[in-house]
């Protein structure tokens, strides 16, 4: 049970006022919280508000969508990775006697798939969209490379994927951390692997990403594009799922002592993009990414020399050289919250800074509170 920082409380009250003015639906349905007298310490629920189960609101999706329980079962003595492993093995492997006969067919199929893929690459026979997104390469190379990291290294537990619509656009807004944008990559894997519609998250990246040789073109091939309003709005008009980390370098490069403290949300450009395209905002809280590269120092002159926003010093980097690039195996949770609708607001309000800031604050508070709740539940950084 954590009591809140007074500043957070003040922000929260401001947001509540804004919310009632804007007329947006309450994100958590916790109307009682709003009227709570300010003298009482606010209680952060230990479990997500699961009473509603699935969101009533959906974007065209139908049918059962939850693959795994929305909230992890209270952790028992059994370590989570093992449960995940066994659950998957049980789901994917056919009965034992059949398996023996099917094995050759299976690897032959895999070989055929691999050769087909190589042939497509060699002949340039694949489609790339106007942003440079190469689905073939992403599904067959990038995601398989990230998957072991997702499943076995960080043992990511994804909560609330059902809040992400099966079809149509949505804007996933998340907290940024971890010195390197591994959190964005893991969220991409989460939405592809855990979501029934296997959605591709289109990331909005800083211009530094696209300036770097190698990284920039890889980022485009993986579906990201420059974080600017024209691109964000175009993607959402095309019905894509867009991911944004509005804290930017302030968030990802914050010192370790500030972990899980959300930074300022820029100018709220993501809100105006969502308002203009009438696309719901899905707050996403990521726990575990802060600990992968604990940034305990920053060599500013070196950063300036390299044109980077910071030059991180972690317990392992640069002391151990390339070994310092190995992230610490923290246990991750990625929780998607209830969508914040924007289609109830006039798109013209996108140019009203007050509305934009209010919604941005609402999103920020939602993420911050979910972070606090997830952190309160977490017993150990590495075991979860």
């Amino acid at each position: 049970m954590t009591s809140e920082h007074p500043a957070v409380q003040r922000r929260r009250r401001a947001v509540d006022r804004a919310r009632s003015r804007v007329g947006a639906p309450d994100a958590t349905g916790g109307g009682a919280e709003v009227s709570e007298p300010e003298t009482r310490a606010r209680v952060i629920p230990l479990h997500a508000d699961d009473s509603s189960g699935r969101t009533r609101w959906r974007l065209g999706g139908s049918g059962p969508t939850t693959r795994r329980p929305a909230v992890p079962s209270p952790r028992s003595a059994e370590p989570p990775p093992a449960t995940e492993e066994s659950a998957e093995a049980g789901a994917e492997e056919p009965p034992v006697d059949e398996a023996a006969e099917q094995t050759p067919a299976e690897w032959e199929e895999a070989l055929t798939t691999a050769l087909d893929f190589l042939r497509r690459r060699l002949e340039g026979d694949y489609a790339v969209d106007e942003f440079g997104f190469d689905v073939d390469l992403t599904d067959n190379v990038f995601l398989p490379l990230l998957r072991p990291l997702y499943r076995h290294w960080f043992r990511v537990e994804t909560i609330g994927v059902h809040h992400v619509p099966d079809v149509g656009a949505a804007l996933v807004v998340a907290n940024h951390s971890g010195t390197l944008p591994v959190d964005a990559l893991m969220t991409t894997v989460a939405l592809h692997d855990e979501h029934p519609a296997r959605r591709h998250l289109r990331l909005l990246g800083a211009d530094l990403v696209f300036r770097l040789p190698g990284v920039g073109s890889l980022a485009r091939k993986a579906g990201s594009t420059l974080a600017c309003n024209p691109d964000a709005e175009r993607l959402m008009r095309n019905g894509e799922l867009v991911g944004v980390w509005p804290e930017g370098f302030k968030g990802i490069g914050k010192p370790f002592r500030d972990r899980y403290k959300l930074q300022r949300f820029g100018r709220g450009g993501f809100v105006s993009a969502a308002l203009r395209t009438q696309v719901p905002i899905i707050p996403c809280s990521i726990v575990g990414a802060e600990e992968i590269y604990p940034k305990i120092g920053d060599i500013r002159p070196l950063a300036r020399l390299l044109g980077a926003p910071y030059f991180p010093v972690t317990p392992t980097f640069p002391w151990l050289g390339p070994l310092g690039a190995i992230p610490l195996p923290s246990k991750w949770y990625i929780e998607f919250g209830e969508p914040i609708r924007t289609d109830t607001i006039d798109p013209a309000e996108a140019d009203d800074p007050m509305t934009v800031f209010n919604i941005a604050d609402q999103v920020r508070e939602t993420i911050q509170h979910t972070l606090y709740r997830l952190l309160a539940q977490r017993r150990s950084v590495f075991l979860g």
Partner: protein
């Protein structure tokens, strides 16, 4: 009102020449005048049919006489050159592009018969950088004003044309920003680049390439001449290819060159007269440039018939590029790999079952 006397500049080159030929085939148009400083090839002259060729320099005020004497009502300016080597060096190219356009506009401003002005511009006016949005629409301006070369010329020319439109509000002005033209017949820096057996690219960059089929380009120009549709329009095919993908589709081999060496490799190719690639085009190879063509479809009423991929494939077929790795060789390689893989896999299986049995 359909045009009766059309003047086309740059008829010695692909777009101008073929446009003049197409217009000459239209019985609704009374006269077609083709202007250039060099005469078109004999083949082109034959194609142009009844179109008249006027050997004149648009930098010379004499052009005003040509326009007024023939009482030209529609001027199509396609003479902008993007290749310094073909126009006798960068200085001559700039002179031809900028001064030529200024003279032409001055002549048009004086001529009361002129009712319509069509400029073939380029999407290079948007520049190409890492900070640009993925797609440019007509309202966007480049992050950095092009510092030189073709893009700067085109930007300046468009500026002069805006000035002309202000001074002559009765003239309908259409600016068509063309993407890179490609096709079996067109010969430009881009097609020559992809015809190299080993194609140098910039290491660590893979540009998005958007093209325009030559036939679509001609059809757009023709439509701009015959209909009055003022405005600025991006003209490009649907979809994109990645540079690496295009090189593979052409059966070429990409040679990634580190950024530092790009300048010297480009210079080498230029001096060897293989490919005339200017620095700004090399920048295009870094980041690529894709434009939004919604306005072309909605307002201009034209939908390109070729997508970028189709246009490129048409070029590859038409140019009869011999792939370095022909499909039958790939087939053979695939067969070997597949059979080898299966044999090896079976052996491993056998081994595993033997071990398991023990």
């Amino acid at each position: 009102m359909p045009p009766s006397v059309v003047l086309v500049t740059g008829v010695s080159r692909f777009l101008g020449g073929h446009l003049a030929a197409r217009l000459a085939a239209d019985p609704g148009i009374e006269r077609v005048l083709g202007v250039d400083i060099v005469p078109p090839s004999r083949d082109m002259l034959r194609r142009m049919g009844r179109a008249e060729f006027v050997r004149a320099d648009i930098r010379n005020p004499l052009i005003a006489k040509v326009i007024s004497r023939a009482s030209v009502d529609t001027v199509v300016h396609t003479a902008l050159s993007s290749e310094p080597a073909r126009s006798g060096g960068r200085t001559a190219m700039k002179e031809m592009n900028v001064i030529g356009t200024m003279q032409l506009l001055a002549a048009c401003q004086k001529a009361s018969s002129v009712r319509r002005m069509v400029l073939k511009s380029t999407t290079a006016v948007y520049g190409a950088s890492s900070r640009d949005p993925a797609l440019f629409d007509e309202t966007m301006t480049p992050k950095e004003i092009p510092s030189g070369g073709w893009a700067k010329d085109a930007t300046e020319i468009e500026g002069y044309l805006r000035g002309f439109a202000r001074r002559r509000p009765d003239v309908s002005v259409t600016v068509l920003r063309f993407s890179n033209l490609i096709g079996p017949r067109v010969d430009n820096a881009f097609t020559r680049y992809f015809s190299l057996p080993v194609v140098p690219t910039v290491l660590g960059y893979d540009a998005r390439v958007q093209l325009l089929h030559e036939e679509d380009g001609l059809a757009v120009l023709e439509r701009a001449v015959s209909e009055e549709i003022p405005g600025v329009f991006n003209v490009a095919a649907d979809g994109v290819l990645l540079l690496s993908q295009a090189i593979r589709r052409a059966g070429r081999v990409a040679l990634p060159v580190p950024g530092i060496a790009v300048g010297s490799v480009g210079k080498l190719l230029r001096t060897a007269r293989i490919v005339d690639y200017s620095p700004e085009q090399l920048r295009l190879l870094n980041f690529g440039r894709v434009v939004d063509t919604t306005r072309l479809r909605r307002q201009f009423g034209f939908t390109p018939r070729w997508t970028t991929v189709q246009a490129f494939d048409d070029f590859v077929r038409g140019a009869v590029l011999r792939p370095l790795l022909p499909p039958d060789r790939i087939d053979a390689l695939e067969r070997v790999l597949r059979e080898g893989g299966i044999t090896a896999g079976r052996q491993v299986d056998k081994l595993l079952s033997a071990v398991g049995a023990r």
